[in-house]
Symmetry: C2
Subunit: 199 residues, 2 copies
């Protein structure tokens, strides 16, 4: 009985820990791996270990990279006087897809959430203040998600940055309220960047 | 830009080859792997390679196993005179879950499909005939899927087996238990009426 094939069961469990993968999907994935060629499965495993080994956070902005600094920070044509503050790397990817934004990023790695015990010192907030103080930053666009925690974080950051004489803006509400930047389409996201407002 | 992190992109492509995984899901899975502990990712890769290495088709029935023969064929309490013919290993799992069937299986590894060039010699049809000829088989239950190709395969097998003096049966068609007649399609309902039984 296939259910009792331990190694298959264990593989299904591995897939089951991925986001959005239920018990049946996990088993279907495990089966599909068995149907792949030996070399393909070997490559799958190699690629997974390799990605985990080489990908790390950019020391400047917190974006993911497999180089010393990320490709955005490494791009000399990007405007270092303009920082877009986002919650996570997925938001960086979403904004980059628009191909309209020419500044750099700052990935917070979370949002302030008193309910969940996430205080400003648990996200990359101090690093942001340091960057704004050191680099010649003109404007900070706060692009946290339009959720209550994202709003709180935006307010907190703007209150801290304004006395430093930097222009602080927030993405326009072209992004549907209550959703996640990851799921916004390119046009909506483009409008949101275009219509950013002072906070 | 995270899209350009080659190792992350390559990992997403690996996940993208799994069934039911689209571009966005694949990227989300790749991200989630990065968030796992090193040991967990190592185990994931190991389990995948191990499963691919040890799981193979049972030489008797074609079911998957990591032993010499599968757990069903290895179970002496199972009735070897009763063979259930299925298309694939997933069907074996589905039937085993019912915990009612006490016979053995024969996995065809596909169905006859003239349109797709799948002739009887491309599935484990000859092996079935051989088993029926050698073992003391009383009955063969054909449990191919109720699709046109599944029906053709069932007809073909039954025509071959009947002259051998073996009883050939087909799974009953009907309205799924717990559903509503209102939602049953015409063909299913037609078959359910056709196959009505005394109560």
């Amino acid at each position: 009985m296939a259910e009792y094939i331990e190694s298959l069961q264990r593989l299904a469990e591995q897939f089951g820990q991925l986001p959005g993968v239920g018990r049946k999907s996990a088993m279907r994935m495990a089966f599909s791996v068995l149907a792949l060629e030996d070399e393909v499965v070997q490559e799958f495993a190699d690629v997974m270990l390799e990605a985990k080994r080489v990908v790390h956070a950019c020391p400047v902005c917190g974006n993911l990279t497999d180089k010393d600094v990320c490709s955005v920070c490494n791009d000399l044509s990007r405007d270092r006087g303009l920082i877009c503050v986002v919650e996570d790397v997925k938001a960086v990817m979403s904004i980059e897809k628009v191909r309209e934004y020419r500044g750099v990023y700052h990935v917070l790695g979370g949002v302030i959430s008193p309910v969940n015990g996430i205080t400003p010192d648990k996200i990359r907030f101090r690093e942001l203040i340091e960057r704004v103080g050191t680099d010649d930053v003109r404007e900070v666009i706060i692009a946290t998600n339009p959720t209550p925690d994202g709003e709180v974080t935006a307010m907190y950051i703007s209150k801290y940055l304004k006395p430093l004489g930097v222009k602080v803006t927030r993405l326009a509400y072209g992004v549907p309220v209550g959703s996640d930047l990851e799921y916004a389409d390119e046009i909506t996201l483009g409008r949101a960047i275009e219509g950013r407002r002072d906070v």
